[in-house]
């Protein structure tokens, strides 16, 4: 059936409604135009026109595109393409087809050129005018850089967002963990208080954990207020009569623990900074003079 345009269909409808059409298949009278294809003429013309130049002058090659290595690896080799049918609508495939055709040509032609001693590589010190000016190439480079920067920026932003999400997750997890631990501790303590369990395991469980983490801390806290505390405990703490005891007994006289050699010789003056700072307040006269100057 010849393809009937919509307008023609409407015309048919109208004609039919007016009763002009007879039943049966109605076909438009115009015959399809026969395109001229003078094959002999073409061949004769070609024979006349052809210049039998050596390949060096023409540098032309006819070849199928090079095999698409990537597609082969991925297993998406299109059978259509291998036969030569390209889908002109699919831009990427089409351009890749042209690219591979050029590649195949280059691969075939370069050895031929080498044989004929025609150089293909431009030596580094050969400066000549290029098809596109330097200025233009700089613009091109700029644009490429811009694109790359944009991509990098977006990647960075994405990563940051991911990190933030991750960080938030971790934070939430840690808080939850702490809450859980606290809850468990409290229930264990309550249980013990209520007398449901005799064991004080929960304490130990805690201590073990703490010991592992605060090993360094305990070392630090040895030197802390322990000495002072010790003395005060001894003086005011529990156990034993304190009031009526003698002061200079044999034991107290022989006890040399309170002796600091440096302080005795007057050389441990490095810990007095705070006190020293306090005494740095200028004297009355100096203060009066300062006031007067103001």
């Amino acid at each position: 059936l010849p393809s009937l345009s919509l307008s023609f269909l409407i015309q048919l409808q109208e004609a039919f409604s007016k009763g002009l059409l007879k039943p049966g298949l109605n076909v438009p009278l115009e015959e399809p135009k026969k395109a001229v294809n003078n094959i002999e003429g073409l061949k004769m013309c070609l024979a006349e026109f052809k210049k039998n130049l050596p390949w060096v002058e023409r540098l032309d090659l006819t070849n199928h595109p090079a095999v698409d290595v990537l597609a082969k690896i991925e297993g998406t080799l299109n059978k259509k393409q291998s036969s030569g049918e390209i889908d002109a609508e699919d831009d990427f495939q089409r351009e890749m087809y042209f690219y591979r055709q050029a590649q195949a040509t280059v691969l075939e032609a370069l050895p031929k050129l080498k044989k004929l001693q025609i150089p293909t590589k431009r030596p580094d010190d050969y400066f000549a005018e290029m098809a596109k000016t330097d200025q233009h190439m700089q613009k091109v480079r700029k644009k490429l850089m811009q694109k790359q920067m944009a991509i990098e920026k977006s990647e960075k932003a994405k990563k940051l967002r991911e990190q933030r999400k991750f960080g938030k997750k971790v934070q939430v997890e840690v808080l939850q963990k702490r809450q859980k631990a606290k809850k468990a501790m409290m229930t264990a303590v309550k249980k013990y208080q209520k007398g449901m369990t005799d064991k004080l395991d929960f304490l130990e469980g805690d201590q073990e954990g703490k010991k592992g983490s605060t090993a360094s801390k305990s070392q630090m806290s040895k030197k802390g207020p322990n000495a002072k505390r010790k003395y005060k405990d001894q003086k005011f703490g529990f156990g034993g009569k304190k009031k009526g005891s003698k002061w200079n007994t044999k034991e107290s006289f022989n006890d040399v623990s309170g002796f600091r050699a440096k302080t005795a010789h007057g050389k441990g003056g490095k810990k007095f900074n705070k006190g020293g700072k306090k005494n740095k307040r200028p004297g009355k006269e100096t203060r009066r003079k300062m006031k007067a100057r103001k």
């Binding site: 307008s7 094959i39 023409r58 400066f127």
Partner: protein
């Protein structure tokens, strides 16, 4: 950096560079293949076509330019112009209606010529095409195997080869082969691409320009003569536009018709099928009310104003509340 300087490798004395280059490379052989291509256009071309012409002249060192031709003159005047310029090939661009671009490629004195419709033109200046090549370097030509299968394509292949390949030892040419022109047949059109060869392993970058040629006719003579081949798949751009417009018109007509039919249907006298006796049993006419004539305009409805007042009242209340007076 690209300068017009070149260092000679052989001689130690620094002679004028351009001369040196000629001595070393070009004059090694004699320029025998005397091909000259005349690239010019008719009036009424737009900027893209102009740039395309310029690009073709850059790509082909064996090309010459000429002023625009008046459209009044008939096409065979082109042959005379070519003779004057001593060219034996011609690429002629014709622009019609500021929209359609036609390209003639012809072998001037007696040979065949072909007319194409040019579409999808991208010039050298496009920033997406990042390759570059020496100005006037000789190209490799790459053809699709489909060019060998049909006689008209074979003729076109020969025509393109002779037109686009730079002759060896042409004085304006560069001795290096660093770019490749591809002609491929897809979707019944000829696609033209230009790639720069970067590495010996055939990694390529597109330089441009690029365009698509839709064959219209092949003539036996130059810009005239008997038609050897006519492309049956070619549809002139006018035809395309006309079809689109007709489609739209047809759609509108259909809509109109549908409307009219609907109106007619409504106006038709509808036949009553059967009269049912019991139809008027429950019909009770409404009471007749005395006709009231209103002499005054009706009062405007208070609803909107009330709402407004409400809002302001609320605001007042909140203010007073804040101040602590309520």
């Amino acid at each position: 950096p690209t300068l017009f300087e070149c260092r000679a490798a052989v001689t130690r004395v620094e002679i004028d560079v351009f001369f040196n280059f000629h001595v070393l490379f070009v004059f090694q052989g004699k320029w025998k293949n005397k091909e000259r291509v005349l690239v010019f256009s008719s009036r009424g071309i737009n900027f893209r076509t102009r740039h395309l012409m310029q690009d073709l002249k850059t790509m082909m060192p064996h090309s010459k330019a000429d002023t625009k031709m008046d459209r009044k003159d008939k096409l065979f005047v082109v042959n005379e112009v070519c003779e004057i310029k001593n060219c034996n090939k011609c690429i002629f661009f014709e622009a019609k209606k500021n929209m359609d671009l036609y390209m003639w490629v012809s072998n001037v004195p007696h040979g065949p010529s072909a007319k194409f419709l040019v579409q999808n033109v991208h010039t050298l200046a496009e920033l997406k095409m990042t390759g570059n090549c020496l100005k006037g370097s000789r190209p490799l030509l790459s053809f699709d195997p489909k060019f060998d299968k049909e006689p008209h394509y074979a003729l076109l292949k020969e025509l393109f080869t002779q037109t686009f390949s730079t002759p060896q030892y042409h004085p304006k040419s560069q001795p290096f082969v660093d770019h490749v022109l591809t002609f491929t047949i897809a979707d019944k059109r000829i696609w033209f691409r230009n790639y720069q060869i970067i590495e010996e392993d055939a990694s390529l970058v597109e330089i441009g320009p690029r365009f698509v040629l839709n064959l219209i006719k092949i003539f036996q003579g130059s810009f005239g003569g008997p038609t050897l081949y006519e492309n049956p798949h070619f549809q002139s751009p006018n035809m395309c536009r006309r079809l689109m417009r007709m489609e739209k018109a047809a759609r509108q007509k259909e809509r109109q018709m549908v409307k009219e039919i609907r109106l007619e249907k409504r106006k038709e006298v509808k036949e009553v099928l059967t009269e049912d006796v019991t139809d008027d049993v429950f019909v009770t006419p409404a009471e007749e009310k005395p006709k009231e004539v209103e002499h005054e305009a009706p009062r405007p409805s208070k609803s909107k104003k009330k709402k407004k007042l409400k809002l302001t009242e609320l605001k007042k209340r909140t203010l007073l509340k804040r101040k602590g007076l309520r």
